[in-house]
Symmetry: C2
Subunit: 321 residues, 2 copies
């Protein structure tokens, strides 16, 4: 089985690449070839096919076509903050290049089964404010360009699935921690910053209050879910199988709970190190996550990190699977 | 106020053009210039700006940009059957050229208010089978490429509206009757054929049974709704105002009811002239329309034809406003 990962140089992509190399197979099928695509790729083992460049570049799509993936994890995207600042770029990458990729994957000359596409969508498709609880029937009403383009791609991947061209599975990812401290273009970067700062005993200012609740997941857990999505049977979820979209199960934790967990694990005084400077705009989007009814996703075998300690441990050792 | 109609040479577009010329204004504002865009346009009065060509043609978009519309009725599209036969063409026209149009309209050099876009979407965004009743909270799960692309554009028009670039209003049109008898590329063409045939005393075979229910609207009623949508206040509908999408109010009538109405109005024996040859596939999509909860659309002033007789009379005299 030939497997392609787009956005393989990114935070989640790199974790997924490691996991794929480690397990070496997708369900019962051995990975015969693994390809990594991204603007920039870190050094990789020599048996990995490297496709370096922009997804919107015809030469990159041509190389993807030649590779001929049986399974594609599509993670490459312009992130939320950057997309909002440049909607035209978001359209080019998050919508059009994504649809181009879907077409290239679907256009296989062989009579083989439709390629599986595991698409990294986002909880940003729901918009704000989120209803409480969020359920599989919560309407998607994106309030950011990023979420709007991701939602459009979910719909069009489901349509390609209906037409038998692809076998799509869209996972709506929550904020994944702990991202590297470099600028990620994500407004939610403070979630990762909290973990890095307290683990290093450093002070940190949060743009939300201690009661602010968010949905949390480690990159390791996320990579495991992406891998699982490739082999799960979407038809077991009767409600969602037509749309093929699932919000990943999450840990719903307040900032205060995270601070307590970090304080215990790293032996620091979180209450002294954390300053809360709530900004209404940020808190409205990233600080009021309600209960998520994720039962149907769990039924399919998708998972959260289990508890706050495991989340933090995994999040701060993302490359040790 | 400068007004543009795309798809102005089509069945609904031509009716809307006539209505706009007749009323000469949008709400309290006089129409100072009217532009008609389509692949082919019928002869028009000399004061209408003619933009003949394909929407996906850069020269056409350039001319639209130069026109500088304050209000655009966007009706141009590859219809459902044709889109399903050529998904790549549907992507090019129904998705990408539509987004290009939105960008051209939004990119006005002046500091004027965001241009109003009345977008002809479709009840095909709901997919099949339709739940009973269909309500404003019924999820859009398109089961045709056409519906998927239209749904994506609804979402992206709502996003441009949120960003203050456009003032979008998406109307989900039902099957509109009575289309000209030439091939329209629509699977639902039999609905119009029934009207033409019985009005002319001719036999007709329907791919659905007498109990098959559909949602009906005349082109005249549809044009009136498009015009109304340009001036209505979308924020009065609290539930739907973020998405800016409304299914038009409809008459829900069975084929048998239509046959009876036509028989009375035209003095023909409909029961002798109509042969029912139900095809399961067609009946599933076009013959089982449930109740539509259209109260919020009515509240905004959108309307159906009133009764079956008025529908039929208007439908068969579409150019007599």
């Amino acid at each position: 089985m030939k497997v392609l990962v787009t956005g393989a140089g990114g935070f989640i992509g790199a974790t997924l690449m490691q996991l794929l190399q480690q397990v070496g197979q997708i369900g019962a099928q051995r990975i015969t070839q693994l390809a990594a695509m991204d603007r920039h790729l870190p050094p990789t083992s020599p048996d990995i096919v490297r496709i370096e460049g922009e997804l919107q570049d015809a030469a990159v799509l041509e190389r993807i076509a030649r590779f001929g993936a049986d399974l594609c994890f599509h993670l490459a995207a312009v992130p939320g903050g950057a997309a909002e600042a440049d909607p035209a770029l978001s359209r080019r990458v998050n919508l059009e290049a994504t649809l181009d990729l879907f077409e290239v994957l679907a256009a296989r000359p062989t009579a083989a089964a439709a390629p599986v596409v595991v698409y990294a969508s986002t909880i940003a498709v729901y918009g704000t404010p989120l209803p409480d609880p969020v359920t599989p029937s919560t309407p998607a009403q994106p309030a950011l360009v990023y979420g709007a383009h991701k939602r459009a791609c979910e719909i069009l991947l489901a349509d390609a699935t209906r037409r038998g061209r692809l076998d799509g599975r869209s996972l709506r990812l929550p904020g994944i921690v702990a991202r590297p401290r470099a600028t990620s273009g994500l407004v939610s970067a403070f979630m990762s910053e909290l973990l890095h700062a307290l683990a290093g005993g450093a002070p940190v200012t949060l743009p939300v209050g201690p009661q602010a609740t968010a949905w949390w997941m480690s990159a390791q857990c996320c990579a495991g879910n992406l891998l699982h999505a490739a082999t799960m049977d979407p038809t077991l979820d009767i409600e969602a199988h037509r749309e093929r979209c699932w919000a990943l199960p999450v840990l719903r934790l307040s900032m205060g709970e995270l601070v307590d967990t970090l304080s215990t694990l790293y032996g620091v005084d979180g209450h002294a190190l954390v300053r809360y400077a709530p900004q209404e705009g940020v808190e409205a989007i990233f600080g009021r996550y309600p209960v998520l009814d994720d039962r149907s996703a769990r039924q399919l075998g998708l998972k959260d990190d289990g508890d706050a300690r495991t989340l933090v441990r995994r999040a701060l050792a993302p490359y040790t699977l």
